[in-house]
Amino acid sequence: MTHLINLTITKALQKLKSGEITATELTQAYLDRIEKFGADLNCYITVTPERALADAAASDARYAAGNPLPLDGIPIGMKDLFATRGIRTTAASKMLENFIPEYESTVSQKFIDSGAVLLGKTNLDEFAMGTTSKTSFFGAPINPWQIEKNLTPGGSSGGTTSAVASGLAIGGTGTDTGGSIRFPAAITGLVGMKPTYGLCSRWGCVAFASSLDTPGPIARTVDDAALLLSAMAGHDEKDSTSAAANFYVKDELPIIELKKLRIGLIKEFDSVEISNDMKRLFDARISDLKSAGAEIVTVSIPNILDALAAYYIIAPAEASSNLARYDGMRYGLRVEGSDLIDTYKKTRAAGFGEEVKRRMVVGTAVLSSESYEVYFMQAARVRRLIADAFDRAFEQCDLIVCPSSAGTALPLDSDLTPLEYYALDLFTVAQNLAGIPACSVPCGLAENKLPLGMQVVGQKFDDMRVLQLAKHIEKFAGLDNKPTKILGK
């Protein structure tokens, strides 16, 4: 069954259409592999084999009838932040350990409407707050690259990256509030796309920071990511911030000519300390692009190094408001106390993990009357400066490229301070603040044989060209990310 596991979505769809394989065979191959390696990798919180086989049977019937849907029979993992009707949705929190939604998120509904097969709900940092997936109530998922080293698959969408890189899903979903799709994709050798804010609906996705949260795809190739994004994108009247925009690719991305592109490098990132490997691979890909005819220019985003601090004010502030709903009254955990207030306090003390509590206290502090202007509103002004600077930069270039991270995956038992963990988001948060699309694509292997990624960043709703340039970089890098190779079996 190995050959099935190494198929990309593009290839699998061809074989499904031609009748060479069936959706049931493909799904069963993934379920077998989950059975074998799922517990070790801890990438799923909930596996849904019955649902998966029923989905697959329905896909096979549509193929037989000659009217397949765009992603018919494609087995995916859904980040356990998207509400799925009748299937436990936990946000990796004890607070929602037993929560079974009575409704379906727009994104997961769109996958149902596209014929995709649901393998299960993938692990993540609790409420998507983290960069290593270690804050999950269910324990951290593991990076399948050099699995004996017990490395992080990144976070917060680390369950999806662990599953896709190890061949426990052909592709999957993530959400990106400050880098939660791109960073984990980068350090697992995958493609992770954070679309333009508003392109994919947030409805039914457990809220972390509403002005930053962006659902998006994680896959092994750029074309696969484009196909998944085509299923996820589109206006949704249930999300008031959903844009009147769409994204659609049939089969594969059209090739964009590099000769016609002007690509920007962010001057301010030059002063950031990154590993020699990241520098070497990034420079190599830039010279590939140059040799192929792209024009390389330098642009300036003056406050981009302040984006991290602005983000760690805005995101916790929004989170502290969003998480107020978990009061133990209508759903979720309840721990009885001596009176109502005591019940709230005991419930929330028991239901939330330490990082969630830290961010909620910080969020409340920066929103308090004495600090609202100095912290929250100042961060919102810096956010404007950054977004405006990106607009100006895109007057001088079509797309921007930058690293996805400073280095390769860290061991799960690394003991960093909160600020050191926050610094991992350095290259990714500004794009969330500005709401612009950014895709992390593999740029090669470091000397330690672990993968690294770089980002392509575009203007709002230029998601297509972001992916088109990423596709060139993917080809230049030529990283072998076949699951059987990554996992060694």
């Binding site: 009061d327 009254m329 209508r330 830290r358 409340t364 600020l419």
Partner: protein, 97 residues
């Protein structure tokens, strides 16, 4: 801006989280806040705060019922079974005798 232990406890109380002073100091919240102070140095005179990246104004829709008769479905996740059987959410007493 440094926050005292009492202020941090007040914030924890406002967001209804029971937490010991010891735990609170282990969370290194002060070091996070101190780091956030670096934003104060940036000149943002006349800069309009950006609260959301979405450019469009919030859409409106007609005030019509879209979901109905969903009481049992909503109650399914209620943490207190006693109320559920009667069709209610049962919550702790909020008023004195």
């Amino acid at each position: 801006m440094a926050f005292s232990k009492q202020q941090l406890q007040k914030f924890a109380h406002l967001i209804r989280i029971e937490i010991s002073d010891e735990k609170l100091s282990e969370m290194k919240i002060d070091s996070v806040i101190e780091w956030l102070d670096k934003l104060q140095k940036i000149d943002t005179t006349n800069v309009v705060p950006m609260l959301s990246p979405s450019a469009h104004s919030l859409p409106r829709r007609s005030d019509i019922v879209t979901e109905k008769n969903s009481r049992d479905s909503i109650l399914k996740n209620a943490p207190d079974d006693a109320g559920k059987a009667r069709g209610y959410f049962a919550v702790p007493k909020v008023m004195d005798e």
